[in-house]
């Protein structure tokens, strides 16, 4: 960790961040237009709904970045906790009949309890086997949700029981309020991830990511460190899920699926693994691209193209998948990582990207199935 005390510019990121939040907060009151990107001027609900969705996914991406970037854990089941937040709120309101804020609390706690249980089991292994186990758990969650239609609405999804929700959050007129709510959620999630990263826990998590042996030698438990980070990240994902549920007035089984986790993975990698602002950029960019590419796909320009061009171009996910592959192969740092290395190179420093560090950690443990057993030491 560089000692930032001497740098005079160290308040700049905080000032910029605050200014940005301020700008976003007043956006619904302004009449700005970005034709081609935003569907309507900024004070109208169409754009506000889109931006809210962007922020929900930015928050989810931030929580995933905490897991992958800071914690070094590649999970394919993160959506489980997002879905737990969404479904948790829905179920609490619908079946327990509680008002909104207790419902939110229940959803958050529920998500974290599930994370504690699944995380404890998953962390028996690490690296790629860990990823597979998290995938299996998410799949189980998905099946659970689909099968228990009484509770979860099954394939149709669960809609928000608006009777329990305060009026100022219901209806298209109040999209502004939902927008501000999701902005608040994003700020909270960001501050929590910032706090974790800069705290002793974050320090330990980074050390564990690089070399578990070192942490063990210090008498600390890498398992416990990782589990705490895992549960915090899951809690943040649940919070994002709650916001999603409120925003969309309902949720579907897809929100617990591995599909969604992979979508979030794409967001984080595109934005840049290990960078908080990268996660936000990735989440926003992906959501915008997904929406706009879908609109573009239906346009006349595309419809006129020969089949072999038209078919791929009308599938936004295909384009995003290809973009993802290109980024992983040629720009593994993502947007934030590439910019960061360019800046560092100008300063004369050397940086090792987060993905390369994960590779190194994977190699250093000898066999990928290191888990709780002692990893092979690096021999001289």
């Amino acid at each position: 960790m560089r000692r930032r005390a001497q740098q005079p510019g160290r308040w700049i990121p905080a000032v910029v961040g605050a200014a940005l939040v301020g700008f976003m907060a007043v956006l619904p009151l302004l009449n700005l237009s970005l034709p081609g990107i935003l569907p309507t001027p900024t004070y109208m609900p169409g754009t506000l709904a889109l931006l809210s969705l962007c922020m929900v996914f930015a928050a989810l991406a931030l929580s995933y970045n905490l897991l992958l970037g800071s914690g070094g854990m590649l999970s394919f089941g993160h959506a489980l906790y997002f879905g737990a937040g969404a479904y948790g709120l829905g179920i609490a309101l619908e079946h327990f009949g509680v008002p909104l804020w207790p419902g939110v609390f229940i959803a958050l706690v529920g998500g974290m309890v599930i994370a504690l249980a699944t995380g404890a089991v998953s962390m028996r292994v690490s690296g790629i086997p860990f990823a597979m186990v998290t995938l299996a758990f998410a799949q189980a969650g998905s099946v659970l949700v689909r099968r228990n239609s009484q509770i979860t609405g099954g394939e149709e999804g669960l809609s928000l029981n608006t009777a329990q929700v305060p009026d100022f959050l219901i209806g298209v007129i109040n999209t502004r309020n939902l927008y501000w709510f999701t902005l608040a959620v994003l700020v909270v999630v960001y501050l929590v991830t910032l706090w974790v990263d800069t705290s002793r826990l974050g320090h330990l998590a980074r050390a564990t990511r690089e070399n578990e042996q070192r942490v063990r030698v210090l008498g600390l438990s890498p398992y416990r460190v990782k589990l705490i980070v895992f549960v915090i990240a899951a809690g943040l994902a649940s919070l994002a899920g709650v916001a999603y549920m409120l925003l969309q007035s309902g949720t579907v089984p897809r929100s617990v699926s591995a599909d969604l986790t992979i979508t979030v993975l794409v967001m984080v990698v595109l934005g840049g693994v290990g960078f908080r602002w990268g996660a936000i950029v990735g989440g926003v960019l992906y959501t915008l691209l997904d929406q706009r590419l879908t609109v573009l796909a239906g346009s006349d320009a595309i419809a006129g193209l020969p089949d072999w061009l038209r078919v791929p171009l009308s599938e936004p996910l295909f384009l995003l998948g290809v973009l993802f592959i290109v980024v992983v192969m040629f720009l593994p740092g993502g947007i934030a990582g590439t910019i960061d290395s360019a800046v560092r190179r100008r300063r004369g420093e050397r940086a090792r990207g987060a993905l390369r560090q994960l590779d190194d950690a994977d190699d250093a443990t000898g066999t990928p199935v290191a888990g709780a057993a002692a990893s092979e030491s690096v021999r001289a």
């Binding site: 690089e210 070399n211 090792r352 560090q357 190194d360 950690a361 190699d363 250093a364 690096v378 021999r379 001289a380």
Partner: protein, 249 residues
């Protein structure tokens, strides 16, 4: 010692998972005889060998018989005539002895008879899975693998580690026989073996070369051995053991 060295290493730097394990190592390996690599535990001896072979990330200049090999992938370096006997033997436990050896054969007519004479025990056990062999037998497989081909250089890493004294002698015999036709770079902690086999020696400390010279000279120098190798060599015993052995040969 005459002629060009078979291997020259200049400013070799190696890293494992981002950690520097070899700082700056430079030395030559003569084209005949056995050169020992000495040093305390953890000082970078194994990493030096692995760096020469390209098994770990490395920078610097490495030249084999006049040609640069530091930019080549491991299998190409090996195909140029480098045999490798790794620390901890690394035989394939689920493959039979015969399969382990067959895997190592690179040329049309590998030196099977030569190897069969040196290691008759292995011939008898050809269909046994290598994982069921004793440590000493596995070491034989490991050495045999390196001797099957016409190599220009052998890199041998602690071949006597963890073996009973009788087996140590057998391994040393095999290496001595091999050294008649191919130069060997030998990492070895057992100083008796070093004294018996090695002509020259390179001492590594702190990831760098601390001393180069004749093996006997270095081992006779108490101060040096204590400082760089962390051991106290008992001269009397070593000489007795040697003379016993040379008499029984």
């Amino acid at each position: 010692m005459s002629g060009e060295p078979i291997l020259t290493v200049r400013h070799l730097r190696c890293t494992i998972a981002g950690q520097q394990v070899v700082e700056d190592v430079s030395f030559d390996v003569p084209a005949t005889g056995i050169t020992a690599v000495l040093g305390r535990n953890g000082v970078g001896k194994t990493s030096t060998l692995r760096g020469v072979l390209g098994l770990i990330s490395r920078r610097g200049e490495v030249t084999l018989a006049g040609e640069r090999i530091d930019g080549l992938p491991t299998h190409r370096i090996v195909r140029r005539g480098v045999g490798y006997v790794p620390e901890d033997r690394e035989v394939f436990s689920k493959l039979t002895v015969a399969e382990n050896l067959a895997l190592a054969e690179r040329q049309r007519s590998p030196r099977r008879e030569f190897v069969a004479e040196l290691f008759p025990d292995l011939v008898a056990r050809r269909d046994q899975p290598a994982g069921t062999l004793s440590g000493g037998q596995q070491q034989m497989v490991s050495v045999a693998r390196a001797l099957l081909n016409d190599n220009r250089l052998l890199l041998v890493d602690e071949p006597t580690k963890g073996l009973a004294p009788k087996i140590v002698t057998e391994v040393a015999d095999a290496l001595q026989e091999a050294s008649k036709t191919v130069p060997i770079l030998l990492v070895e902690q057992n100083l008796e073996v070093v004294r018996r086999l090695a002509d020259d020696a390179v001492v590594i400390a702190g990831g760098r070369v601390a001393h180069v010279g004749k093996a006997d000279d270095i081992l006779d120098d108490d101060d040096l051995t204590r400082r760089l190798l962390g051991v106290h060599v008992e001269h009397e015993d070593a000489y007795d053991a040697l003379s016993e052995r040379s008499e029984s040969k």
